[in-house]
Homo-oligomer: 183 residues x 2
Amino acid sequence: MGGWCTVSLSSNRNKNVIKQAAIYNKTILKKIKVNKGQLLQQKGDSIHKVFMVKSGLLRSYSIDKKGKEHIFMFAPEGWIIADNSLPNQPTQLFIDAIEDSTLIQAEKNEFGEHDTKKLLKRVGVLQNRIIMLMSTSAIERYEHFIEVYAEIVQRVPQRMIASYLGITPEALSTVKRQRKHKK
Amino acid sequence: MGGWCTVSLSSNRNKNVIKQAAIYNKTILKKIKVNKGQLLQQKGDSIHKVFMVKSGLLRSYSIDKKGKEHIFMFAPEGWIIADNSLPNQPTQLFIDAIEDSTLIQAEKNEFGEHDTKKLLKRVGVLQNRIIMLMSTSAIERYEHFIEVYAEIVQRVPQRMIASYLGITPEALSTVKRQRKHKK
DNA sequence: CTGTATTCTTAATGTACATTAATGCATCCA
DNA sequence: TGGATGCATTAATGTACATTAAGAATACAG
C-alpha cells in the first residue's frame, strides 16, 4: 500500500512557498501556498501538474485565438484540478488561483488509489457539461449553475461565471435581469 | 488477473442475439449482434450498460425538451461507449446502432484492468470537446471533426455530423459550401 | 421499376447572444 | 483624498446560427 515520507525542500522556480514535500507511492507531493491571481500552469507546459485544493479556490481555463478566456472548471476545497489533455499533446489549459489557497501538488494524476472512482465522477461531470452546452440556453445553464454550485457563485466575480457558462458578462447581466422580472 | 469463463444463455428482453456470455472479473459480458437503428439504451434506464464495439458503429445522444437530438459521441470499432452519468442520477443518454454491429456488453465499466488509462483518455477527449464547444465557431469545429474523425465522416449522414457539432443540418450545408468556395 | 419517404441543399426570415459604447460603482494606492 | 483602474450594468447595433419553407437528390418499399 505504501505510505507517507516527509522530506524538506528549500525552493522551486515558481516562487511558491513549499511547506512540505512527501513521497507517496512513487509520486512526489508538495504542499504549497499560493496567492490570489497566481498562475500555476500555462498552456503548453510539458509537465502535467495535478493540484488537490486544501483551501481556497482555483480555476482552469483556455484562451482562444481572439484572446478571450473560457473557464473550464472551478476547484474549491476538496477538488482535484488538472489539465487532462491527451498524453501526446501539450497542455491546453491555464490554471490559476481565484483566492489565496493551499494546495497539494503532484506531477501525475496519482492521488492514492481512488483514481477510478474519482475519474468516473469527473467523466460524469464533463458529460453533463457537454449536454448542457449543446442542448440548453444561457438562462437554463445559469439556473443549473447557481443550483449545483451555489457555494461558488458567492465567491467568484460575475465575469467568471459568464465565462464558465460560455456567454459574455453583458449577456449574463440580462439573464439575471430577466429572472428578476419573472419572479 | 482473473480469466474468461464462457457460459451459454438463451435470450434476453432486448431481443438482441446473444452469441456467448462470459464471466470476467465478476462482470458478466455478453456478445451481441444488433441491426442498424436498434436501440440499446434509453434515457432513464437504471442499469448502466457498457458496450465495447467489435464491428460497426454506435452513437450516444440526448434529446432536449424540444425533442431535438444531440449526439454526444460516436463509437466505431474498438471503442467503448456508455452513459457515464453520475452514479446517483438515472442515465441521460440514448445509445443506438448507426450500422449493423457486433458488441460486447457489460453491466458496469469493468473491462479488465486498463480502466484508468482508458478513463484518462476519455477525460481528455471530453475536455477537448468542451473547449471546442466554448471557444470555436461551427466552421472550426467542422474542420477539426473531419480531420480527427475522418473515418467516421464517411459513414454517418450529414445531419448526425451536424448534431455532433451542435448545429443544424442547414447550417452544416452552408459551412460546407463556404469551405468549397474558399478553396 | 415506381411511388413514397427521407435527406440534403438553398434561400428568406427570425432570434439568441456578441460587440461596442457609455455610465455608475467599487477598489486601490500614491 | 482623489484620480486611475477594473467591474457590473444598460442600451444600440451586429452577427452567427436557428427556424421555416420549398425544391432537388437519394434511399427505400411494394
